[in-house]
Subunit: 485 residues, 2 copies
């Protein structure tokens, strides 16, 4: 171990051991340039201040920490940092609810209906919509707003239907069940707005812009490819959703040439049956053939703790291999704290079905064998700290199991999961939590550099585009370091 | 990895992987007898019920979970289970506060003083005690109680000074600083009672009894060896404290021959300076020579986050080797969530100074190199889950980093740290948290068997006594299994 002379461990050897351990962590083997070292010690000083303040944001619920984080000098640097790619975001929650309410619901022909379970539905229509089983009475929002005395309060109430964000998260969401119920409800509310074809176009553009403004250059979006509709009630094919996404992305890249693009991971909900997921896999295989630049792969989404396991869908998940397709999987797995349950085994099955990355992998650190397989196979974990906290897997982020993964240099990328639901935008909030809370004082600029470059390395892009993106990112990175050191 | 035929992983190989992983966990390699298997499936059924109930005790603050745990059928079995040894308990908190108040403070000549900081002091004296800097006015408790209308309420208020236990832990202890302040205060309050020589005798006996009733057979007690005093103000030498402990233990073993005994780990507080700790180490070396059957080793105690590091005391800690003594160390280390701080490095230094076990080791899972050293060196972690939760390192015990250690079969023993402060008694509460919360559904009877036998294996006992204790324990274990399967 370390030579002990006269009872005293050799201080030089002790330092060596400490450095050896530090080199194992994420970014621990990166040699920093002089400029990077300068920025690194600046960041360390700022982080120390934050750790000794009365309130430590990663220890608080994010909804209470948000304002503190926004004031944090560390956060402000992270905002400016080129973060590479966002690899785990869901399409129904990529744009802030302020925009959805203040812009989209103010558009003409927007109808609203208040449901019996205290929720709302939206619908764009050029005539009075028919009653539906969950919606008997549709009102034109324009008319309703004209009659209301307090449009600000009303708009705020609409926003509350679209996000989990609240001032009192502990009392509003006492259990995982309750927070997940609200979570799934919010998606349904948003759907009526987003799946209106003209809105979807603006929505995707706006979503890319929010990422771009947070210094992100590429996106892989989990998307269920819901059908879009028109004012006259026409319902389009799923392919149109894909086409809209593709066209808007192309337009966006034209407008912002230092943004590389976006791809879709087609997602089926685990509430479906095996035969429906089979159909979804087949469809994804076809769409990937038809749109190889747009479709990155396939995933099964929805709450794991409540839902069917990956193994339950094994017939569907073995279809690509049977059909000679190379459709990659990007499975959510291990988003649970129910150790030893069947759900807890999703991670191993994700790996057995050759997943390309693991969404969340919250339970991975508790599975030594799966962890080894993931590491050896270079299967990165998509770490979404704020999502895990808001969905009540962990309260103090210093206890997030990713602390273990980060200390071992496990392949990791940072993402935001459902930014609009959690009241975030871009990746900076999640990077803050990973850097300050999960990484602690150990995490340094090398950690950040590796996390950002990991997002390119573990993306689904072909090698040539990875290289291109990496080159673009590195230029921005060096500029960022030069400006901030 | 696993042969994939026609896109489908081989179910038999998949099962093999799951078993391989399960075999890595604590107790994963123990082959259960038929009777043990029967008890194991019974326990599993009970645990499943507990996990699906509305409130899951390990996810709640222990002070709110305590009553639920006491009703739990799993807990009732754990109470009956022979748990081996308690290796991490502090002498000032080994007996329930009910006994201290209802028995000790009712003894004659007991004086009380109310301090300016809303605390109290106790003193036994055959005359009116002199005022001290912190205590101007001493009242005879007997007289005071006779004047009070509500002795029950008064006694309850005295208990509150001696324990952290409260119905509203979140509001009373909003931060680590506040809970630690109360923690250190409670020790000072207890000291006046416990260090009265006649009380100490009963106290030690009572403490051993509480362990014995919880089916524990051996104790290693952290003890600062405070000097004891008599009614007439005589203050005894530290050696008497050791002698009292030894004599009472011998008496107890006579009375309860299936209890093996108890040893002391002499503890110095980290608030001391280097030269004082040097003196304490020298004294411990001498006492170990004089009482080899009683003194197990040496430790430095007190809050790590606030205090000096082990490395700060390196001159003192290298003394035994310099003086040719084999005084073993049993260091508290890594009882922190401040990652990357100097305090966070205590674990590595504990290992470099050849610690025999690690007290808490809360941060160990975040230190891959130290973890490897601890595993290879067979340095067991003394896991005290309730202590970590009450002292606010973690709220939901499913996020305790020992989940990682347990899944990897890291050397572990379970202990209770400061039972009277946390409102526990014996080890059953902590075993419950480790078995149900930290171990989850994965933990089984093999886990319990290994944890219990670990407490013997990693004790400081010489080989012959370890074997004797193991034999005694195994007999009890088999009886326990036979009775409960
Ligand atoms: Zn997700
Ligand atoms: Zn302790």
């Amino acid at each position: 171990l370390v030579r002990v002379t006269f009872g005293m461990p050799d201080p030089a050897k002790r330092d060596q051991l400490r450095r050896d351990e530090a080199s194992q962590q994420t970014g621990g083997r990166i040699t920093l340039t002089v400029a990077e070292q300068k920025l690194d010690s600046h960041l360390r000083k700022l982080k120390l201040q934050e750790m000794s303040a009365a309130q430590f944001p990663p220890a608080l619920h994010f909804f209470k920490a948000k304002r503190l984080i926004e004031k944090s000098p560390v956060y402000k640097i992270l905002q400016k940092m080129p973060k590479g790619a966002a690899l785990h975001i869901h399409s129904t929650s990529m744009v802030s609810v302020e925009w959805l309410v203040k812009n989209v619901t103010y558009r003409p022909h927007c109808y609203i209906c208040f449901t019996w379970d205290n929720s709302v539905r939206f619908l764009f229509s050029d005539r009075q919509p028919f009653p539906r089983w969950d919606c008997f009475y549709w009102q034109l929002l324009e008319t309703l707003r004209a009659r209301l005395g307090d449009p600000t309060g009303f708009d705020y109430s609409l926003m509350q239907h679209l996000t989990l964000f609240t001032e009192s998260p502990e009392s509003e969401y006492p259990t995982q069940d309750i927070v997940w119920e609200k979570f799934e409800k919010a998606f349904i509310v948003a759907a009526g707005l987003i799946s209106h074809a003209p809105v979807l176009k603006d929505y995707v553009y706006k979503g890319l812009q929010e990422l771009y403004y947070d210094n992100i250059m590429y996106l892989e979006l989990r998307c269920g490819l819901s059908r879009t509709y028109e004012l006259d009630g026409t319902i389009h094919d799923k392919v149109l959703t894909l086409k809209i996404f593709h066209e808007v992305t192309q337009k966006f890249v034209q407008d912002y040439p230092d943004f590389l693009g976006a791809r879709i991971i087609i997602s089926a909900h685990r509430a479906l049956g095996v035969s429906e997921v089979k159909a979804a896999v087949k469809e994804a295989i076809q769409l990937q053939k038809d749109f190889p630049d747009v479709v990155a792969g396939f995933d099964i989404v929805g709450r794991e703790d409540d839902g069917k396991t990956l193994w339950f869908f094994r017939e569907a998940l073995s279809l690509p291999a049977q059909l000679g397709s190379m459709l990659p999987f990007f499975f959510h797995a291990g988003e649970t704290d129910d150790e030893g349950s069947d759900v807890d085994q999703n991670i191993l099955d994700a790996l057995l079905f050759n997943t390309s990355r693991i969404g969340h992998g919250y339970a991975l650190a508790h599975h030594p064998l799966a962890k080894e397989l993931s590491r050896k196979g270079n299967i990165a974990v998509e770490l979404c700290p704020i999502s895990n906290q808001v969905l009540k897997l962990v309260s103090d982020l210093r206890n997030h199991p990713a602390v273990v993964l980060m200390s071992e240099g496990h392949p990791l990328v940072i993402s935001s999961d459902d930014p609009s639901l959690f009241g975030t935008s871009g990746l900076s909030y999640d990077f803050y939590q990973a850097f300050v809370g999960i990484g602690g004082l150990k995490a340094n600029l090398g950690t950040l550099k590796e996390l950002a470059s990991n997002s390119i390395r573990y993306s689904s892009l072909p090698a040539n585009l990875k290289n291109k993106l990496y080159g673009m990112w590195l230029k921005k990175w060096d500029l960022f370091v030069a400006k901030n050191s």
